[in-house]
Each structure stands twice: as structure tokens, then as C-alpha cells.
């Protein structure tokens, strides 16, 4: 929209204007260019490696050849377990924030503040928390109580718990948004018909927010699937003979696999194609999850 009278604008001002818009455009194009460049780089160098057998085979020759099946499976187990732990807690918190709390009460505000803070805590700190709390405190505690030595070491279980904590804010924010999108009238109608608050929540509000809860879970999974720093010392392993039989075993993980291949393998150059292919799989997984979350959310907003 151009202002109608532009005659008082001098040439230099017009140049300045072009520059102002140009620099913003340049920045945008630069960012988009980097993103596209990154994707193209991965696709070109990793695409040819990406075969069906790469996805379904075990690594061979100390991970220098072969596929990534155990890492893919381990990541899947991890995010499933994480979802089971984190989503109920996140959903309950979101229900509290939207349905129970008065918005100005100090408790609600502290919960909100805590959620925002959690979202900003560096993931490596969650990793330390996983070691200090889940492994050292809870795990060792359970071991002493039961007289075994099952829990007191890094494992799939503790990784999932750590990631559940890490992704909690993602779930809460997404579910809260979905709950707020449920029209007030539905709640009022339900209450007016004599339903209790609890009945209203479970029978009216939650069924209308299912897609939101799903969105939150998917976003959390997308975040959790790519997270490496938080689980570095909580139970991932570089090579496993087989898939984990129990949640208390160590497991392989896509992101960690990539990290080790790229930085610590004996011949980094030789495994470069494998690294690119692993990157594509990891990125593809997170994109798939993020896109489906975006799709669900846009459907939710349209309603």
C-alpha cells in the first residue's frame, strides 16, 4: 500500500527505502538459501546410499558398513516410551491451566513460569538431570530397595524419562492451545444440563481436543527424536548386538549414531556416505512428524 502523495520524497529517500526493503529481503533469502542448501547437500550426497537394506540391516564391521536398523528401532522405542510418560502429564497440566486455574492466581502463574523456564533449559542440563536424578537417585534407590542391579545404570527407560521431561513444555503448550479452541458455549451447555465439571471435561472438552493432544504428542516426538545431548550419558550406546529386550537395557539411537560416526569413528571420511544417509533418515523422521503436526494444527485452527 503506497501513500497517495509521494512527491515530497526525495530521490535519496527512495534509495534509502529500496535499501531498507532490500536488506530485509536479502536476509530472508539468505536464511532460506541456507535451509535449501542444507537440504540439497544432504539429498545429493546421501540419497544414493539410502536403500531399503540400509534401513533394515544391522551395521557391520564396527559400524563402518551396513545399515542402521537398530538405531532406527531404538529411536522409535525411545519416543514411544517418552510419549507414554510425558503426554499424560502434559495433558493434565494443560487441563489444569485452562479448566481449573484462575488466570491471575499465583499458582497458575508459577506453573506457567515453570513451563516457560523448562522450555529454555539447555538440553545438556536435562542430560545431567537424567544422570543425577533418574539414574543415580531413582535408579540406584530402586536397586537398593529391591536388592538387584537393574535400574541403577543408564537405560532406555531413563532416556525416555529424561526426554519426557524435556518435551513436557511442548506438549503443554500444544494441548493448551487445543483446549482453548474448544468453544465456551460447549462447556456452558454441558454445565447447564447438569453435568459436573469433571464430566464436562472428560465427556465434552477432551473429546473435542483430541486432535490437539495428538498434535502435542507428535510435536514432542519430533523434538525428542532428534535430541542427542540430553541422552548422551543416560543410556545410549554406540553398538548393540540386538534390539533391547527390556526397557532397562541400553539402546542405539539415530542422532547419537550420526554423532559418533561423524566425530569418533576410526575413518570418518570412509563413512561419510553413511553419515549423510543417516542424516536424511533422521531429518526425514522429524520432518514427517512436524508436518503431520502442522497439518493437524491447521485443521484444528480452521474449525
Amino acid at each position: 500500500m503506497q501513500a497517495p502523495f509521494t512527491s515530497h520524497h526525495t530521490v535519496s529517500k527512495r534509495v534509502l527505502g529500496l535499501f531498507a526493503i532490500g536488506i530485509a529481503l536479502t536476509a530472508t533469502v539468505a536464511v532460506l538459501g541456507v535451509i535449501l542448501g542444507m537440504l540439497a547437500d544432504f539429498a545429493v550426497k546421501g540419497g544414493p546410499e539410502l536403500t531399503w537394506s540400509f534401513l533394515t540391516e544391522y551395521p557391520r564391521n564396527s559400524n563402518m558398513e551396513g545399515g542402521i536398523f537398530p538405531a532406527l528401532a531404538g529411536t522409535t522405542f525411545l519416543v514411544l516410551l517418552m510419549t507414554l510418560m510425558g503426554v499424560p502429564i502434559g495433558t493434565a497440566t494443560a487441563i489444569y491451566l485452562t479448566e481449573f486455574a484462575r488466570q491471575d492466581s499465583w499458582f497458575a502463574r508459577s506453573v506457567r513460569f515453570a513451563v516457560n523456564t523448562l522450555a529454555g533449559v539447555p538440553s545438556i542440563v536435562f542430560g545431567l538431570f537424567g544422570v543425577g536424578f533418574f539414574v543415580q537417585f531413582v535408579g540406584k534407590g530402586l536397586d537398593t530397595a529391591s536388592g538387584s542391579s537393574v535400574f541403577g545404570d543408564g537405560s532406555l527407560l531413563w532416556c525416555a524419562a529424561t526426554l519426557a521431561v524435556l518435551t513436557l513444555p511442548v506438549v503443554i503448550v500444544a494441548v493448551e492451545e487445543a483446549l482453548r479452541a474448544v468453544p465456551r458455549e460447549l462447556r456452558e451447555a454441558s454445565l447447564a444440563l447438569g453435568a459436573t465439571r469433571w464430566q464436562t471435561i472428560t465427556k465434552v472438552v477432551l473429546p473435542n481436543a483430541v486432535s490437539g493432544i495428538l498434535t502435542g504428542s507428535i510435536l514432542a516426538v519430533g523434538r525428542g527424536a532428534g535430541e542427542v545431548a540430553a541422552i548422551l550419558f543416560v543410556g545410549v550406546t554406540y553398538s548393540a548386538e540386538s534390539l533391547p529386550d527390556a526397557v532397562t537395557e541400553k539402546f542405539m539411537h539415530l542422532g547419537y549414531h550420526l554423532y559418533v560416526l561423524a566425530t569418533q569413528s576410526p575413518d570418518v571420511e570412509a563413512t561419510l556416505p553413511l553419515q549423510y544417509a543417516t542424516t536424511i533418515v533422521l531429518l526425514g523422521l522429524t520432518f514427517l512428524l512436524n508436518f503431520s503436526a502442522i497439518y493437524l494444527r491447521s485443521r484444528l485452527r480452521r474449525r
Partner: protein
């Protein structure tokens, strides 16, 4: 609530409602737990029964003199002198350095507090007299004070240099040294190289990421056509979904080689490459928060500005951007927090060598990367282990502080700005 409330509630319902409340408090509890348990592992450093060091078991002959210790038993004095040290060694970047100094001081104050609260049980004079008497016999000192855990707290931390130490001083002296060499005959835990590395990479990341993010937000919010906006916005937000290990890998392999081929740098991986990688993590955060802030500015401001005859770009840069300033500042602060705490990119792309150099073309190592790369090999419960957790505590406290700053200060200003006219 309402007069005819005869609705029959299932007895289960109050229970369910209260458990929801309980679960909601989980987030708050978690914050405390994180601090508590990360710090708990670090706290081993300050108690004598942790194998806090070869330093303790080796009572030395090359004693640093006991005189300073006698003079300055009063904790305050010494603390101030440490604070002074920090500032003396200042490397220029005052702002952040001060904040780091604060952290250290906070910790030592924390100790101080504890001490006092414990010390209350005992006659003050007792240990004041006591310490100078046996400056060279740590064992006796320990057995005597075994009942006063907090008193011992202090020994490895602050007094130890005079009492027990062999080489260059106590834990704190060691921490303030300028070499980070945790795995060696005589481990050195000087954090200065890490502080410098963290500042270097974070500053580069923000210097690159903040302008790019803000300008891109301005473009999408005001200049782009609707069609374009609907493509650009999700595309940049897609970047937020990139796992950091993927960004790290990209920088490690492609960006590093490209830069080296183009500019012929001495080190292939260096602070610049790391900073570029971190900026890729920062950009989507800055972008989406700044874009939200720009869109939250009331439309009336824009219309008024246009009606007064200013052009679209003048309105964007001189009216809308200043009006959204608190939100944009919040975006940058959160971006700083992200760059500061990012681990995988920092491990993979910075070269990860603790060098005490402000040169941006040399490798750097950040706090987070130090934890990430050394935690795997550390002996559990050792001094090194404790120090890594101490670094983690610093990371947590800083990120908490940055977040509190945006929550309490910036948002309040934003609200006041648009409601308080």
C-alpha cells in the same frame, strides 16, 4: 456457586480434580529437582569425603604460606578478593564476564550462607582460633571438625590453598586458572578458556543470527505479499525442527570445508564455523518470537503512520519496530540462551579445543560442549565429575536467569506499552 446446586458428584471426582492440580505442580517441582540434583552432584566438590582430590591426600611441604589464611579467615574478606581477581583478569567483554563473575560469587555466597547457618551451632571463636593452630595437618583438622560438615565445606574450596594444598592452590584457584586439562597427572580445571570459548561462539551466533532473524521477521510481517509469507514463514520455522546434531554435522562437513577452501584458514574447525552453526539454531527462535511481537503491535499505529504520509518501510523501521522493541529484545535474549546452552553443534563444529584466545579463527570450547564431550569418560564421583556438574549448574542458572528476565521484565513492559497509554 449457584443456588440450586444439587448435582450429584461422583466421589471420585474431587480426587481426580486434586490429582490434576498435583500433576500441574509437577513443572514447578521439576525446576527445583533439576537444580537440586544437578547441584547435588556438584556439591560433592565442597565436602571432604568426596574424593575431592589428590590435592587433599597429599599434605605438602611446598606449602603456600599459612599467613594469608590466618589473616583472612573472615569469609567476606576472601570472597571479595576473589571477586577482585575476576575483574582483574577481565578480558574485555565486561558485560558477560560480570555475569559470570556473579555466578561464581553467588556460589561462594551460597557456601557462605550454609556455613553460617551450620556455624551457628558452634562457638565462633573456636574454629577461628583453631585453624591457624594446625595449618599443616589436614587430617587432624578433619577429624576435629568432622561434626561440622559445613565448616569442612570450606576447606577444599577457600581455605584449602593455605592448609592442605600441594601445587597451585585450592579448587577455586584451580577453577580460575587459565588451563583446562582435566585428564592429566595434575588435573587443571581452569575455566577461563571455556568462558572465552563460550562468549566467542555465543557472540558470533547472536551477531549473525539476531539481525538475520529480525530482518526476516520484518520482511515477512510488513513487506512480503501474502502468498510469499505463507511459504517463507513455515520454511524458516522448519529450521527450528532440524535436530541440532544435523546442523552440527552440516557445519562439520560442509560449512567448515567451504570456509577453509574459500578463506584458507589455519584451523578447519573454529569459532566462526561453530558460531555459524549456532546461529542456524538461533535464527528460527529470534524469527518466530520477533514476528509474533511485530504482529502484536496494534494496527492503528501502522495506519496512523501511513496516514501521516510515511512510506511502508519508514513505518516498518521507525514505528513498528520500536513499538515491538520489548518483544524483539525478548527474542534476542532467548536466542542468546539457546546459543549459550546448545551442545551438539558446539561439540561438532567449534573444534572443541579449550584455547585461551579471543581470536575467532581459532578453535573454541563452550561450557555445554565440555560437559557433552567429557561426561562420557569421566570417573564417576571424581573431582572432574563434580566440576562438570558445576558447569551444568552454571548453565542452568544462566538460562533460568535469562528466561526470568524475559518473563518478568520484558513482557511486563510490552503489556504496559500497549495498555498503559
Amino acid at each position: 456457586m449457584h443456588p440450586f446446586k444439587k448435582i450429584k458428584r461422583h466421589p471420585f471426582e474431587p480426587v481426580a480434580e486434586w490429582s490434576i492440580r498435583l500433576i500441574a505442580s509437577f513443572s514447578i517441582i521439576l525446576i527445583f529437582l533439576i537444580f537440586l540434583f544437578v547441584f547435588r552432584e556438584a556439591a560433592g566438590l565442597f565436602t571432604p569425603d568426596a574424593p575431592a582430590g589428590p590435592s587433599q591426600q597429599a599434605p605438602s611441604s611446598e606449602s603456600t604460606s599459612s599467613s594469608p589464611q590466618q589473616e583472612s579467615y573472615g569469609e567476606d574478606l576472601q570472597q571479595e578478593s576473589y571477586g577482585g581477581d575476576l575483574q582483574q583478569e577481565s578480558y574485555g567483554e565486561d558485560l558477560q564476564q560480570e555475569s559470570y563473575g556473579d555466578d561464581l560469587q553467588q556460589e561462594s555466597y551460597g557456601e557462605d550462607l550454609q556455613q553460617e547457618s551450620y556455624g551457628g551451632d558452634v562457638a565462633e571463636g573456636e574454629h577461628v582460633l583453631y585453624v591457624p593452630r594446625n595449618p599443616n595437618y589436614p587430617e587432624i583438622y578433619n577429624s576435629e571438625t568432622g561434626m561440622l560438615p559445613a565448616d569442612i565445606d570450606e576447606i577444599p574450596g577457600e581455605q584449602a590453598p593455605a592448609v592442605v594444598e600441594k601445587a597451585p592452590g585450592g579448587l577455586l584457584d584451580n577453577l580460575l586458572g587459565d588451563t583446562w586439562q582435566p585428564v592429566s597427572e595434575q588435573p587443571k580445571f581452569g575455566v577461563w578458556p571455556l568462558v572465552i570459548g563460550t562468549l566467542k561462539t555465543t557472540l558470533i551466533a547472536i551477531a549473525l543470527g539476531a539481525p538475520l532473524g529480525i530482518l526476516a521477521a520484518l520482511y515477512t510481517a510488513f513487506f512480503a505479499r501474502r502468498r510469499v509469507r505463507e511459504i517463507v514463514k513455515p520454511a524458516i520455522e522448519l529450521l527450528a525442527g532440524f535436530p541440532s546434531v544435523v546442523i552440527g554435522f552440516f557445519c562439520l562437513v560442509t560449512v567448515a570445508s567451504f570456509l577453509q577452501e574459500t578463506f584458507g584458514m589455519e584451523y578447519r574447525l573454529n569459532a566462526i564455523v561453530g558460531g555459524i552453526g549456532l546461529s542456524l539454531a538461533v535464527i528460527p527462535i529470534v524469527y518466530s518470537i520477533a514476528e509474533d511481537a511485530l504482529n502484536a503491535v496494534p494496527k492503528t499505529l501502522r495506519e496512523a503512520s501511513l496516514a501521516l504520509g510515511s512510506t511502508e518501510w519508514q513505518t516498518a523501521y521507525r514505528v513498528m519496530l520500536p513499538a515491538a522493541a520489548p518483544g524483539v529484545i525478548a527474542a534476542v535474549i532467548l536466542g542468546i540462551g539457546r546459543a549459550f546452552g546448545e551442545t551438539m553443534i558446539a561439540i561438532m563444529a567449534t573444534g572443541n579445543a579449550p584455547m585461551e584466545s579471543w581470536n575467532i579463527l581459532t578453535p573454541a570450547r563452550t561450557f555445554a560442549a565440555t560437559i557433552g564431550s567429557e561426561m562420557g569418560e569421566v570417573v564417576w564421583g571424581s573431582e572432574h565429575y563434580g566440576i562438570l556438574f558445576l558447569l551444568g549448574t552454571v548453565l542452568f542458572v544462566v538460562s533460568f536467569g535469562l528466561n526470568a528476565l524475559t518473563e518478568l521484565y520484558v513482557k511486563k513492559r510490552l503489556i504496559k506499552k500497549f495498555q498503559g497509554h
